[in-house]
């Protein structure tokens, strides 16, 4: 008797549970990034905040999506990142992984996502390989890539008369590819590369490399590095009177948090390319203010990319009615977006997100009106111009049929 009652209630529970499951779609998002190392400020906890804001702003609950967000630290190591991704897909039921800065980790996670039925919506990594040589049907590359940075900064500076370049390059895959892409752009625009020095990664002291650049006869010193390396190089360039001597610096990858760390008296006049800046229009300002209230600092373009990418993902899940990776990825590519942070844009067949990029110049100390008032916008680079054209084999809208 007791047994039948128990079984009956279990069946009832199963039935109601089943009925509920039809109404709500459970979505689990994993924010995988650097939470303790060099990229922790530009991605890190801020990306989790951005993803959460996207879920709230989307009104996920009202729309029948039950969204959970996980986060983990990949420590910028591909093996650690790959393990977490596998475990997330395997045991935690994660549907999409977000952010993933550090190109080598991103490439590993892209492959695992494709194999294990997940989606990678990358915001933090720079390599163009994500949508070219190692493209996957379930990779979406949201915010920027090395080619867009090279086009933005390289072209603008060469056209403005900075035609003799000397590169200070971080001696690893990212630095080399940034240098290559930028060299191409410089040469296409009539400039020349007069020298290169490859510095160890990470490095603290740049004085000897800067001295070599100083004596090279170049009028532009291109910094093909990132994070603390770029900050240190710029700090020391100002100390050694590089800019006073008529040479200008071009930071090829720099985030607003780096400029903030340097301060405007050292960073003033630097030109750099970003996909987003908090103080561009009412939409970016409103969102950034809400972000700052929660996170205590202004957002970087990586944070903004996580927000927009999550939005687009949730829209696609709602439209498809499931979290099937291939279907959702295809849907994301079908629907152009117009959001307050990136404006109008679309996800191309290879997963490359096409949106405008911007050339900024760092303000001088007497121009700024506050801690985060750092950039003047110099130019808008259209998405089609900024990003490389798609290669045929990576157009998954065709091959997926």
């Amino acid at each position: 008797m007791m047994k039948t009652i128990l079984m009956g209630s279990a069946a009832l529970a199963a039935m109601t549970g089943g009925a509920l499951a039809q109404d709500t779609i459970e979505v689990t998002l994993g924010v995988l990034n650097d939470r303790s190392g060099v990229y922790a400020d530009l991605s890190g906890e801020g990306s989790v905040v951005a993803a959460r804001m996207a879920v709230e702003d989307f009104n996920a609950e009202e729309k029948g999506l039950d969204v959970e967000i996980l986060s983990a630290d990949h420590q910028n190591k591909p093996d650690i990142g790959a393990n977490i991704a596998r475990q997330w897909y395997d045991q935690e039921g994660v549907d999409a992984i977000l952010d993933v800065p550090t190109s080598s980790v991103a490439l590993a996670v892209a492959e695992i996502s494709s194999q294990m039925g997940g989606i990678l919506i990358d915001s933090g990594a720079g390599t163009t390989e994500l949508t070219r040589g190692q493209c996957q049907p379930t990779t979406i590359h949201w915010t920027y890539d090395t080619a867009a940075l090279a086009t933005g900064t390289g072209k603008a500076i060469t056209e403005a008369g900075g035609d003799k370049w000397f590169f200070l390059t971080a001696d690893y895959a990212f630095g080399h590819s940034l240098e290559d892409e930028t060299s191409k752009v410089v040469q296409e625009n009539g400039g020349e590369v007069v020298g290169t020095v490859r510095h160890p990664f990470p490095a603290t002291d740049f004085s000897s490399f800067l001295l070599q650049a100083q004596g090279s006869g170049a009028n532009v010193i291109g910094l093909a590095n990132a994070g603390g390396d770029t900050v240190n190089a710029i700090k020391q360039a100002s100390e050694f009177g590089i800019t006073q001597g008529g040479q200008s610096l071009a930071a090829l990858l720099m985030f607003v948090t780096d400029v903030h760390a340097l301060g405007t008296d050292v960073a003033q006049g630097l030109q750099l390319t970003e996909a987003f800046y908090w103080d561009q229009n009412d939409g970016t300002r409103e969102w950034s203010e809400r972000f700052e209230e929660r996170h205590g600092a202004k957002p970087t373009m990586v944070h903004a990319g996580v927000y927009s990418g999550t939005m687009q993902y949730l829209r696609a899940v709602e439209a498809v009615g499931s979290t099937d990776a291939l279907e959702v990825a295809a849907k994301m590519k079908e629907m152009p977006f117009d959001d307050p942070l990136f404006g109008k844009g679309y996800v191309r067949g290879d997963g490359r997100v096409i949106h405008d990029m911007y050339l900024f110049e760092v303000k001088s100390p007497d121009q700024t009106q506050g801690e985060w008032d750092l950039y003047d916008q110099k130019a808008v680079i259209s998405g089609e111009e900024a990003f490389l054209p798609m290669i045929e084999e990576c157009d998954f809208t065709k091959t997926a049929g």
């Binding site: 603390g228 240190n232 050292v266």
Partner: protein, 295 residues
Amino acid sequence: MFELLGIPPQVLLGQLLLGLINGSFYAVLSLGLAVIFGLLNIINFSHGAQYMMGAFVAWMLLAYLGIGYWWALIASPLIVGATGLLLERFALSRLYKLDHLYGLLLTFGVALIIQGLFRNYYGISGQPYQIPDLLSGGQNLGFMYLPNYRAWVVVASVIACLGTWFMIEKTRLGAYLRAATENPVLVGAFGINVPRMIMLTYAFGVALAGFAGVLAAPIYSVNPNMGADLIIVVFAVVVIGGMGSILGAIVTGYGLGLIEGLTRVFYPEGSAVVIFVIMAIVLMIKPEGLFGRAN
């Protein structure tokens, strides 16, 4: 004019000078390590974190209290030294009976905690700190532009190194210290408070790290990881010089700075490993280090 492997002598001179400047940091940091190891037998793995604290305290003094560089140069080492005092008194002093390894583990753990705390509160990107007005600008030496601040770094580090060496090797206080490490019981029997002396010595070594941190603040990025990047190199310097040898730490600090500077001209890609290659060679030929005494 002669050229060496296609490098004009002006460039070479410039790079040698820069090497000397970097060597100044190595010397001050490895000196602190050597003092602590030589007199206390502790491998102080939190030295890098203490160097970072030196830079951060200088920044905090400026940001929160408006205290500038020159006062920070005195106050920051004192504050960082005081934290060393507490660390020795409440943790390290309990480990003297045990193997070296325990001190190493403790200080390593402390370093991770300190770095984690700073990262949590101040983020990873770092804080801006300007060169003091008095030392901004530079001199054109003909072969290179030497920023005044870098020249000051060399002067300040030479003074700190010579002062420390003199105090330990040539004064009565230094003699007590050395005696206390040789035979603490006997020295204690003469009425000298040995534990307190050891505590102050550790604090002094830590203060040296803090001093190097203040020197570094205006030219390197002030961020929670700045010491972690440097400490491994500095340990290599200490090993090459001979663990615990004060003079060895100073001489190899400057010497390796010069060698690293030269590598940056001839083969920049190798500049990160050259010190470790030298360390490996020295360990093979003279395991006790260049200035170390074999036991």
